[in-house]
Amino acid sequence: MIKTRALKKHFQLARHQTLHAVDGVSLEISENEILGLVGESGSGKSTFGKTLIGLHERTGGEAFYREEALPKKFTAADHLRYSKDIQMVFQDPYASLNPRMTVLDIVGEGLALRGMARADVQEQVAYWLSRVGLHPDHLSRYPHEFSGGQRQRIGIARAMIIEPKFVVCDEPISALDVSVQAQVVNLLEDLQRSMGLTLLFIAHDLSMVRYISDRMAVMYLGTLVETGPSDSVFFSPQHPYTQLLIESNPEPDPKLERTRNAQILTGEITSPVNVGPGCRFSDRCPKAMPHCSSETPEPIKIAEDHIVACHLYS
């Protein structure tokens, strides 16, 4: 349904300084699938999501929606056209809702832009508020009157009211409390099933991503290091980075935590400015070989639907 080929997004910082936020990501998302995209801050996962749906202008590569090539730079008309099918739920429920608009205006904006009569918009918004678990009488309230979890529900209602086919959820639960996270994840799962949605679920919480997604993709410094079915990636990670990432993810189980001898990834993510050739992880990789820092590893299929970009497997 969604396909990208060597998608790139670079930001020009100064004349000789280019930030390689997303550097050649090729990914496919099938119909009705939930793909979890994980990575640390600065790995380019959010930029990938935004570039894919035209919120950033693409620097290179191609992106397809249902075999149709998406434009490199979206015009206002493109946005209106594609937003019917493609929507986004943002991370910060405090910053992504206009504080001066009522819930009716926020959630109904998409329908109003498409010329729906105000009375119909109101009816639809009321329906969607109750569908996401809010009170339909809250139409005339402002965002500040809601809690974080409720705001995230408003953000979800805004995206879903258009009845899209594909939704990018950019860290939709990171700002929420544990018990509320579960509420929002269950809501997303429920909507995905009942509406037949395809989701790109971007998050850094590995346990939650493993729980919600069918397939998992791991990003490091703008490149995809591993993709595969969630359980295979989580329980038998192949790329050294994925292995260390999952190793550092704590489990809510004290006995398990006491027995495991966690190997800790040392150092920090390298700067994505003016990156050279070779594997992006080679400078921190405990298994790095001499040619890792000079040759960029190609994606290798190691099992059905399990792909790793690492020289260890070539």
Partner: protein, 346 residues
């Protein structure tokens, strides 16, 4: 328990005056921390966990804040209601503190080295040059590479993980007997979180320092703590060893928190069980148990009277503030119910 504990908190009650009324943020909290142990306080936003430790440190803005009752003794001496000068003497020296957001907790206009040196100058009266050299040693201790060069840099030149290391270095400058870590890794990535938790554990064991770890993340608790207090609506609702809390949860809220998290053992199809509803309004806390409105097992008494702690008859130090632990309570299969002795306080 042998002898007095390092920190004894009793009946701590904190309120905030606002235009909307009085918020009863902390409603009678008791706990003790022994020397050299790591105790976690877990709870969700607004449960009062940060306010609890901030009042120990004397960093609650007053007004609007007000400590209306309770006492907190560190090695027998009272911490609450101290004169500013007396509070400054122990703050940073006897108790160190690290915060969630290192970017806003360090002074952006001072170099990292100077900020750490300041602690030593103020509390120990160490001269400038020597203090700066100690600061470099402290940065090396927290594994900051090129500490000499880094000490002369400003906070904006540090990454989040490095700043948290610098803040740990600063808080440990005077070798405090107690370190309070308020959500130290919440703003960090998992790999960096693992590094920081590992560092904290190593330093804690080396100096046999006591640590109070404030967090909302049960996985972080499982990795680091020995003792746990679970807070809800301004009260501790269950406390015990980390194993008691995780494997013999006696309060429905503790159980609820656990089932709301995805488990990595077993089936992925097992659905998450969120806790319905939201915490009570602390402007007018409920008469009975704070959790009763969301509790699937709530009985009539739960809405009418706040339960005392019921002590676990099999595990010392494990107790829950829940009527289901009363001797004549009905049996709830998923809940651990061996606690049959009523007791007040921790």
């Amino acid at each position: 328990m042998n002898g007095p504990a390092l920190l004894e908190v009793e009946g701590l009650t904190v309120e905030f005056e606002t235009y909307g009324g009085t918020v009863k943020a902390v409603r009678g909290v008791d706990f003790t921390v022994e020397a050299g142990e790591v105790m976690a306080i877990v709870g969700e936003s607004g449960c009062g966990k940060s306010v609890t430790v901030q009042s120990l440190m004397g960093i609650i803005p007053m007004p609007p804040g007000k400590i209306t009752a309770g006492s907190a003794r560190l090695n027998g001496s009272e911490l609450l209601g101290l004169e500013p000068r007396a509070a400054n003497a122990f703050r940073g020296k006897e108790i160190g503190m690290i915060f969630q957001d290192p970017m806003t907790s360090l002074n952006p206009t001072m170099t990292i080295g100077d900020q750490i040196a300041e602690t030593l100058k103020v509390h120990r009266g160490i001269p400038d040059q020597q203090a700066f050299e100690s600061a470099i040693k402290l940065l090396e201790m927290t594994h900051i590479p090129e500490a000499k060069k880094r000490a002369k840099q400003y906070p904006f030149e540090f990454s989040g993980g490095m700043l948290q290391r610098a803040m740990i270095a600063q808080s440990l400058a005077c070798s405090p007997s107690l370190l309070i870590a308020d959500e130290p890794t919440t703003a960090l990535d998992v790999t960096i979180q693992a590094q920081i938790l590992d560092l904290l554990k190593t330093l804690q064991a080396r100096d046999s320092m006591a640590v109070i770890l404030i967090t909302h993340d049960l996985a972080v608790v499982a990795r680091t703590a020995q003792k746990v207090c679970v807070m809800y609506a301004g009260q501790i609702i269950e406390h015990g060893s980390v194993d008691d809390i995780f494997y013999q949860s006696a309060h429905p809220y503790t159980l609820g928190l656990k089932s709301a998290m995805p488990s990595n053992v077993g089936d992925r199809d097992k659905s998450l069980n969120p806790i319905p509803g939201s915490p009570p309004d602390l402007f007018s806390p409920p008469l009975g148990c704070g959790y009763a409105a969301r509790c699937p097992h709530a009985m009539r008494i739960c809405h009418e009277e706040n339960p005392p702690f019921f002590q676990d008859s099999l595990s010392d130090g494990h107790a829950a503030r829940c009527w289901l632990q009363a001797p004549n309570a009905p049996v709830v299969p998923e809940l651990y119910q061996s606690n049959k002795i009523a007791s007040d306080g921790a």
